[in-house]
């Protein structure tokens, strides 16, 4: 496995940049474990100090150290994004594999429902969801709803792979070799399904974190737990920009942008690297 990663770094600029960016973000998130200040408490440091030695990222108007506050914010945002992505993978895989393998009426029914979820604008529905839940809106509830609405695009990708696998002749050779359906799906087909699941997970994280930031900035999530969006929300509430406390907004924005670009580059690079065709060429099996 190490050789693969080394190989990836050497030959793949996107992977390298992506990995470094995401690495920095994850490091920041881990630092939250050693933060001297608990996340929710305010007025622990003198407010509105610009970035200087003692406070590398300055302090906020609510008397919090921007740096340590940011570590909590990025950790929560990452966890939220991961939760939504993993949850939606389950639904995407279920719908995609079922539609792909069963085909016929099941496929047509699932796909028309699927296309509906792709087309329907989700933001207004999420806003409506917040409006109705108001203060009893929890991060878990939001993650669940977003996962239930955000699987459609990837389900179609998974379906097309499942459909092609079902009709490939080596599936029939496997059947006639006495392999059980479970064995065929896990051993023969999974290496073809995994790349898509992996790269769509990264893309889905981008989607869910983007939505979280947008909702939180408007105050439409439970703004007590610090996330990137919530941090920007409080900065706006205290009109940080007008008051010239630019660092309260600049650092969260910069960090989350790094995360978006990093995840995106990782997805692009991984998708190309794990894609069976390019794996074949690396095994020296390219067309003579």
């Amino acid at each position: 496995m190490l050789a693969v990663v080394r190989d990836l770094f050497r030959h793949h600029l996107e992977f390298a940049t992506g990995a470094i960016l995401v690495g920095i973000v994850v490091a920041m998130a881990l630092l939250s474990l050693v933060s001297p200040y608990p996340p929710e408490v305010a007025w622990v440091v003198p407010p509105d100090l610009p970035p200087l030695a003692a406070y590398p990222m300055g302090t906020t108007s609510r008397g919090q150290d921007t740096f340590w506050q940011l570590t909590f914010a990025i950790r929560n945002t990452l966890l939220f994004g991961l939760a939504v992505a993993l949850l939606s993978r389950l639904i995407a895989l279920l719908v995609g594999l079922l539609a792909g393998y069963l085909g016929g009426p099941v496929d047509r029914a699932l796909m028309s429902i699927n296309d509906t979820f792709v087309v329907v604008p989700l933001f207004p529905i999420l806003v409506l969801f917040y409006f109705v839940m108001r203060d009893s809106m929890s991060w878990a509830a939001l993650a669940l709803v977003m996962a239930c609405l955000g699987w459609a695009y990837d389900a179609r990708l998974i379906r097309s792979i499942a459909m092609s696998l079902r009709s490939r002749e080596f599936t029939e050779t496997a059947i006639f070799s006495g392999m059980t359906t479970r064995e065929i799906v896990t051993r023969e087909h999974l290496p073809y399904v995994l790349p898509i699941v992996f790269s769509t997970t990264l893309n889905n994280m981008n989607w869910s974190i983007g939505l979280e930031v947008t909702l939180s900035v408007l105050g439409f999530t439970s703004i007590s737990t610090p996330t990137i969006g919530v941090m920007i929300y409080w900065a706006n509430q205290h009109t940080a920009l007008v008051a010239g406390i630019w660092w309260w907004i600049a650092f969260p924005v910069a960090l989350v942008v790094m995360l978006f670009i990093g995840l995106f580059l990782l997805a692009v690079a991984l998708n190309e690297f794990i894609d069976p065709r390019s794996r074949l060429t690396r095994m020296g099996g390219g067309a003579a």
Binding site: V120, P121, V132, F260
Partner: protein, 334 residues
């Protein structure tokens, strides 16, 4: 023309499904929550205290009827549809007694006016640049354009809009930062009003375009780099057909076909972007209306905008789907 008939039927079926599933989702969301939406709204309205008692009563009656909890879920659902089908969401709380449909009617043209041109520009620009970058792989400038587009694409609309706001607000204040047009102008088809509208829509449109272009760029570049190896392109090159003609009539013309479906599929996401961009720039579309409605606790307005958004996006998708056969004869002529 049998092919087109069955295609038309299928797309209409899909349109209806989107509307029904979408609106049912809004119904579901409002009814599955533990709190009774009507009482909850009344509580919020009272908190704002800006409305008279009989307004509250009227609102309670309208809300009770629209999403009342009496009767079985099915009865509520049917009553809900009866009202929604005619676009009657009852009076708006924050702008009492004007009906919600009127508020939406005033705001919708602004959103359409912003979204349609911005989406088309980013779609055309992204496909053009992506197509060129896919065909001339070595060119430095196209590769650079690609990096910029790819860099911007993953960033959510809110942050790009916010950065533009800061940029044009503090660094180079040459464009209006918010609103739909200069306050003292009389709305009408006068030159002054129209130019002011245009001026105010530059930043929101720019924000939508910057984020959108990257997606189309990468999609088209990937499609073109596949189409370039297709037999009919290699054959045209072997026939010494003029390179510009091959690029347009053979490569781009075939690669663009899936991008049309792509446009239809991503309208929902673009619409989300428009809502937040309108909010950042204070642009008077239904996006801003939705968010102001939430802040004002105006339940029927929020529900109305959510429902109209779904129908609007579904209609746009249907229009694009109906245009698709013009590009791909294999569908139209069966």
């Amino acid at each position: 023309m049998a092919g087109y008939g069955s295609y038309l039927l299928k797309r209409l079926g899909q349109f209806l499904l989107v509307v029904v599933v979408g609106i049912s989702l809004t119904f579901l969301v409002t009814h599955l929550t533990p709190i009774d939406p009507v009482e909850q709204t009344i509580a919020v309205a009272a908190a704002f205290g800006s409305t008279s008692p009989e307004a509250i009563d009227m609102l309670r009656r309208s809300l009770k009827e629209l999403y009342g909890t009496e009767g079985s879920l099915l009865e509520q659902y049917l009553r809900f549809w009866a009202r929604v089908a005619v676009g009657d969401f009852g009076p708006s709380l924050s702008a009492f007694p004007t009906p919600v449909s009127e508020l939406i009617g005033r705001a919708l043209p602004w959103t359409v006016g912003l979204l349609v041109p911005a989406t088309l520009i980013s779609w055309l620009l992204g496909n053009l640049l992506g197509g060129l970058a896919g065909y001339w792989r070595e060119s430095r400038s196209l590769r650079f354009a690609g990096v910029v587009a790819m860099g911007l694409h993953p960033i959510p609309y809110y942050i790009v809009a916010f950065v533009l706001l800061v940029l044009f607000g503090y660094v180079w204040p040459v464009l209006p930062l918010s609103g739909g047009h200069r306050m003292n102008l009389e709305p009408g088809f006068t030159l002054a009003f129209l130019s002011s509208v245009l001026e105010h829509s530059i930043l929101p449109a720019l924000s939508l375009i910057l984020v959108g272009v990257g997606g189309w760029f990468m999609g088209m570049r990937a499609l073109v780099s596949n189409v370039v190896n297709e037999d009919y392109v290699v054959y045209a090159e072997l026939a010494g057909v003029d390179e510009r003609r091959i690029l347009t009539a053979y490569v781009m013309r075939n690669a663009i076909v899936p991008q049309v479906t792509g446009l239809a599929m991503s309208l929902g996401a673009i619409f989300n972007g428009a809502i937040i961009t309108e909010q950042v720039f204070g642009y008077p579309g239904i996006g801003k209306l939705l968010i102001d409605g939430v802040h004002a606790g105006d339940y029927s307005l929020v529900l109305g905008v959510a429902t109209v958004s779904i129908v609007a996006v579904a209609t746009a998708v249907l229009i694009i789907d109906l245009l698709y056969p013009l590009l791909d004869p294999r569908v139209k002529v069966g």
